[in-house]
Symmetry: C2
Subunit: 191 residues, 2 copies
């Protein structure tokens, strides 16, 4: 019998892609075993709580990525640089719109109710972090709050359009448009 040894840190991103592509309900255990190469035994060894625990860990993993790559820089670093890096990270992470936002997808159906705290926190922190960065860059609190919502929402909308239209360029246009509008509300911003 061959024995492949997995580590949990390697397993989480694999399962994440299955949930991302098939959704919570569509990601059956058999699909997960087929696409990850892990047996049911291994999956339940890593995640005794089953499918719900897998999804919870995956959401936490996605959230942690955004915290370190996007939210914390926006909250702590130079605001203009952090915002500019945010657009870059977003374009790369979502692979020009070919990869969707797992948190956004989970928000749309009853899956939201299973994970509502994480889902709500993710978007709230993103909007608040961007807003705080804009305020530090000199934007008024009112404008910053409105623009931050528009930017985070706009990214989600761009991902839906990219998948719906099977258009590899639309997400880039969306991000570029949002970046321009955000930078225009920074006094002395590059535009």
């Amino acid at each position: 019998m061959t024995r492949t040894v997995f580590e949990k840190t390697d397993v989480v991103p694999l399962i994440a892609e299955v949930f991302r592509e098939l959704g919570y309900e569509g990601a059956s255990m058999s699909k997960i075993t087929a696409r990850t190469g892990l047996s049911k035994g291994s999956l339940y060894y890593f995640f005794p709580g089953g499918k719900e625990e897998m999804a919870a860990e995956i959401l936490a993993h996605v959230d942690a990525w955004f915290v370190s790559k996007v939210f914390e820089p926006l909250e702590q670093h130079d605001p203009q640089q952090a915002i500019s890096e945010m657009w870059q990270e977003v374009e790369t992470y979502f692979n020009s719109g070919k990869r969707i936002c797992l948190v956004g997808a989970f928000a749309l159906d009853e899956t939201r109710d299973r994970f509502d705290a994480v889902i709500c926190q993710y978007f709230k922190r993103w909007i608040d972090a961007l807003c705080a960065a804009l305020v530090r860059a000199g934007t008024t609190r009112e404008t910053a709050a409105i623009v931050s919502e528009e930017a985070v929402g706009g990214i989600q909308g761009g991902l839906i359009l990219a998948r719906a239209l099977k258009d590899d360029l639309i997400f880039g246009r969306t991000v570029a448009g949002l970046a321009e509008r955000v930078s225009k509300c920074i006094p002395g911003g590059t535009h």
Copy 2:
């Protein structure tokens, strides 16, 4: 014994809400029978093709609604009035963000591949119709194309944020913001 007689036209909107709330995979036949009051027999009488035929008819029904209430007015009526009515219809239809876009939700997971022609057509026609209305109102073709994408995408993003944050006001703010930006690119528009 009581006997409730259903007509297919009454059944489609009922099933539509189940798909909208639970997603394609989450909307099991038992959930559909439970929430519509229809027996499995009735469902297969109305939809011999099963679940896939139900979803296809529901998508067609949603699309037809948008064609008559949004796309055709944008394509044919007074552009400024049609655009202003679009925002009104969108706010009402999505119930201030408490109701999501079925087409957008289907676009996110592998459900898209089952219905990709309808899903693509829906968003393409919406963007094109809005773009054409803006051009008729005097906007340059280039600006109109960009703004139309931003508006249709922005609506989808607003719906995701509304559900994720459980915020009844954010969708209204999103629509108001988009409406303002759209009207600003019309020469002599009301702003």
